[in-house]
């Protein structure tokens, strides 16, 4: 194992609250009678539905087709009848088409063949990654085949697997590393093969020592060419730019991608899903979700069929202990608040939080007092207060010059802001308005 490290600039330390679920083993949740499969579960263009009302589908069938370069295929996790194609609101505010499927008894996908990925051609693997609808499962849901296609003229030297899980509350990646460690490691090697990178690292924050030790023992036992990089606890270390700075010590230049410094980053959940996809030809139809928060009676980790309404997950936890103030899909720093418990679990739903009014207080916004905490917290070296002031008076050009497009909305600035300004919302507004100005 390598010496402990971290990224140098900014970052915050919210209470990690992982103790609620970090010892809870992953429990398989049965597929419900009705599942809702949105056609936009990834970053980029929504998939085109290729089924219609009344169609009969088999488990693992493709029901949505990627509609562009940055888009992903959608599969049905279970067999049944398409009972409706309707429009639903997603937690991120998108209004999108979704297929409602009435699941039959014979529902689940049979995994029969087991293939040896080592004999497969890298191009074939990339094609299958696309075909099986794999996307980044850390939250950003970037289509994996695009990420793992190294552009011409670029060379991948490192694969860095992201086992940081820096979002408070979430423990799904932690549990995957503990319970599916070997699949994660093999998935990492499949990625290395796809992109042709000689070095593979796994970055893990040191609040998950058990996962580090477990993976280390697997690496030794199976003689795998993978190194573990322990990381000091700090949010947002799971962002690929911060992770690369911490693991390989290089900064991704502003406006560039990790591949520009020879690196490919992937989340542990993605690596594990990718392993199952390539070895068993299994599309991305289920994922591990942490259901937690002080309003949940019995928090836990669940292996959930995609399309399962979040209400089912809450029922599996014994319901609410008290009335939640806020429901969040994802982690508390970058996740989205939602209001409809019938919202389905999607490829990027790493967690469901039911927060009490104590955990997520209703705050009063005051004037900016120029305390500089946001400047100190910004991992990208931006000045959120200055950006926000420019954006709020419509000065978008100035804010672009101050590096607005480097902002990835990690939320450090708004987290520390004593004036409780909606800084992240301001950055989003600024980006959208600048984009409109260009047109």
């Amino acid at each position: 194992m390598r010496n402990i490290s971290t990224f140098s600039k900014g970052g915050v330390h919210p209470a990690d609250r992982k103790e609620l679920t970090c010892t809870k083993e992953i429990v398989r949740l049965p597929t419900p009678k009705h599942i809702i499969i949105p056609f936009s579960q990834h970053l980029g263009v929504p998939a085109n539905p290729i089924v219609k009302k009344g169609d009969i589908v088999a488990a693992g069938d493709k029901i949505g087709e990627a509609a562009g370069f940055i888009s992903a295929d959608i599969h049905t996790p279970a067999a049944g009848t398409v009972s409706e194609i309707k429009e639903i609101f997603l937690p991120n505010g998108m209004y999108t088409k979704a297929a409602v499927i009435a699941v039959d008894e014979t529902g689940s996908l049979e995994l029969t063949e087991k293939r040896d990925w080592k004999t497969m051609d890298p191009h074939q693997i990339v094609a299958e990654v696309k075909d099986l609808g794999i996307v980044g499962m850390g939250g950003a849901t970037f289509p994996a085949n695009v990420k793992f296609s190294v552009p011409k003229g670029k060379k991948a030297e490192y694969v860095v697997i992201n086992g940081v899980e820096c979002e408070p509350y979430l423990t799904s990646d932690h549990r995957i590393m503990l319970e599916k460690g070997l699949e994660v490691l093999e998935g990492a090697l499949i990625i290395a093969k796809m992109v042709g990178a000689p070095k593979v690292y796994i970055g893990i924050e040191n609040n998950k020592k058990d996962a580090m030790e477990h993976l280390e023992s697997l690496i030794t036992a199976h003689h795998l060419p993978i190194e573990i990089q322990p990381l000091r606890l700090k949010y947002p270390q799971g962002d690929e730019k911060q992770l690369l700075k911490a693991v390989i010590g290089k900064e991704v230049p502003s406006g560039a991608l990790p591949i520009d410094i020879g690196a490919v980053v992937s989340n542990v959940g993605t690596a594990q899903a990718l392993y199952q996809a390539i070895v068993y030809r299994k599309p991305l139809i289920e994922r591990v979700v942490t259901v937690t928060g002080d309003a949940i009676r019995d928090p836990g980790n669940f292996l959930v069929t995609i399309g399962t309404p979040i209400q089912d997950l809450i029922d599996a936890c014994g319901g609410f202990r008290e009335q939640p103030e806020k429901m969040v899909a994802g982690g508390p720093m970058m996740g989205f608040a939602f209001y409809d418990l019938q919202t389905p679990v999607m490829k990027g739903t790493s967690g469901v939080l039911a927060l009490t009014s104590k955990e997520s207080r209703k705050e009063v916004t005051t004037a900016c007092i120029s305390c500089g905490r946001c400047v100190a917290a910004c991992p990208m070296g931006l000045q959120p207060t200055r950006l926000y002031k420019n954006i709020s008076v419509g000065n978008y050009t100035e804010s672009l010059g101050l590096g607005l497009l480097d902002c990835k909305e990690c939320g450090c600035c708004a987290y520390v802001c004593p004036a409780k300004l909606p800084l992240v919302q301001g950055m989003r507004l600024g980006k959208n308005m600048s984009r409109k100005m260009k047109k």
């Binding site: 600039k9 915050v12 919210p14 609101f89 730019k241 900064e251 230049p253 502003s254 406006g255 560039a256 009335q323 103030e325 806020k326 969040v328 508390p332 720093m333 970058m334 989205f336 608040a337 939602f338 209001y339 409809d340 019938q342 939080l353 927060l355 997520s360 207080r361 209703k362 705050e363 005051t366 004037a367 900016c368 007092i369 120029s370 500089g372 400047v375 100190a376 910004c378 991992p379 990208m380 070296g381 931006l382 000045q383 207060t385 200055r386 101050l402 590096g403 480097d406 909305e409 939320g411 708004a414 987290y415 520390v416 802001c417 004593p418 409780k420 909606p422 992240v424 919302q425 989003r428």
Partner: protein, 365 residues
């Protein structure tokens, strides 16, 4: 989606926030200032309570009215209470009550609200209020009350040690062993406790401090009502630093640059040459601790970057040194901080953080 489902709060990320709020910061600073206020009541008598009360009440009432006028409500953020309190702390203990009222009114109405209220003012309101009344009623603002623990005969018109030193130096001849020595020559009376403590220091620990240092440190000297006890102010400062409300950058760079300059040049006037200045005397006297820990650290009127704060601190230290040693007034803290407040927008323009992944940064001016 049924009606009963729509009961959860929808907000942009992040969904959780740090516990510190503007109000919490302001009230913590007020709390950190309280020991020094209690000491002033003990030291100078119950009249100072009236000074504190009128300053705070004037500030809060005006804050309320002006915020109302702008259609806002801001008194719960605690900033007006803090401004009022700081104004009171900068008043001589026996000052006529109309002076703190005018100082508070000037601070809140002119310095703070004519620019748009909290966060929009570009100099520290409390300091501006103090400086305004200082130059308007200089006599009343430099009439000091002797502290209770003094055995000296004259208990109504004690001068501060800094002003005594300043005026006496004009007539002084030959080599004098620093400000403490000068005060000793003038027959300045230290408290019995300070004399005992000083001899304990020299006998037991072999550290040579004069009783005057002890008096200054504890606060048994004449002076503005909240500034005299360096000890209690430092404790307040440590509390704020421990709660991460202030960072070390401004106060430490301020104190270090001031101390260094005093050490190098502070002895020249006494005929003891370079590198012989009495650093402790200057650190613990006048408004230095109140200024460095509670005024220069005012978030609104100090830079937003750590590097900027250090530059701000260094120059404030330099100006304080200039005003104290070479100026015609005995004190320099208020003016030094106010002048540096004016430079803050410039510091913030030129001192910007290095952006992640940007190697060469051109100035964004």
């Amino acid at each position: 989606m049924s009606e009963e489902n729509i009961m959860y709060r929808i907000e942009s990320s992040p969904q959780i926030r740090h516990a510190d709020s503007t109000a919490r910061i302001m009230w913590s600073v007020v709390l950190a200032l309280l020991p020094a206020g209690i000491w002033s009541v003990v030291n100078f008598g119950p009249y100072v309570l009236a000074v504190i009360a009128v300053s705070v009440i004037t500030a809060v009432v005006l804050e309320y009215l002006l915020a109302r006028l702008m259609g806002r409500s801001t008194i719960q953020d605690g900033s007006a209470v803090l401004t009022g309190l700081l104004i009171a702390y900068n008043m001589p203990p026996g000052v006529g009550l109309f002076i703190p009222i005018i100082a508070s009114a000037f601070a809140i109405a002119v310095v703070k609200w004519s620019f748009g209220g909290l966060g929009a003012n570009w100099i520290n309101p409390a300091l501006a209020g103090r400086v305004f009344v200082f130059f308007s009623w200089t006599g009343a603002m430099t009439t000091w009350k002797a502290p209770r623990f003094w055995s000296a005969v004259d208990t109504t018109s004690g001068a501060t040690v800094l002003s005594t030193v300043k005026t006496s130096l004009l007539d002084a001849e030959g080599i004098i062993s620093g400000p403490a020595g000068l005060l000793g020559d003038l027959g300045y009376q230290s408290t019995a406790f300070a004399r005992q403590a000083a001899s304990w220091f020299s006998d037991t620990l072999n550290i040579g401090v004069s009783p005057i240092h002890i008096d200054l440190f504890i606060g048994t000297v004449p002076g503005s009502l909240g500034e005299v006890s360096a000890l209690l102010l430092i404790l307040g400062g440590i509390y704020l630093a421990a709660k991460h409300i202030i960072t070390w950058h401004t106060p430490i760079s301020y104190i270090l640059s001031f101390s260094l300059l005093i050490w190098i040049f502070g002895g020249v006037q006494y005929g003891t040459g370079l590198f012989s200045g009495d650093v402790l005397f200057h650190l613990f006297s006048g408004g230095m601790m109140l200024g460095a820990l509670f005024m220069a650290t005012d978030m609104v009127t100090s830079p937003t970057t750590y590097a900027g704060m250090i530059i701000f601190g260094i120059f404030t230290g330099f100006l304080t040194f200039l005003f104290r040693i070479y100026g015609s007034l005995p004190e320099g803290v208020s003016l030094a901080i106010i002048i540096m407040n004016i430079f803050v927008p410039m510091i913030d323009r030129y001192i910007q953080p290095r952006r992640f992944g940007v190697v060469k940064q051109r100035s964004q001016a």
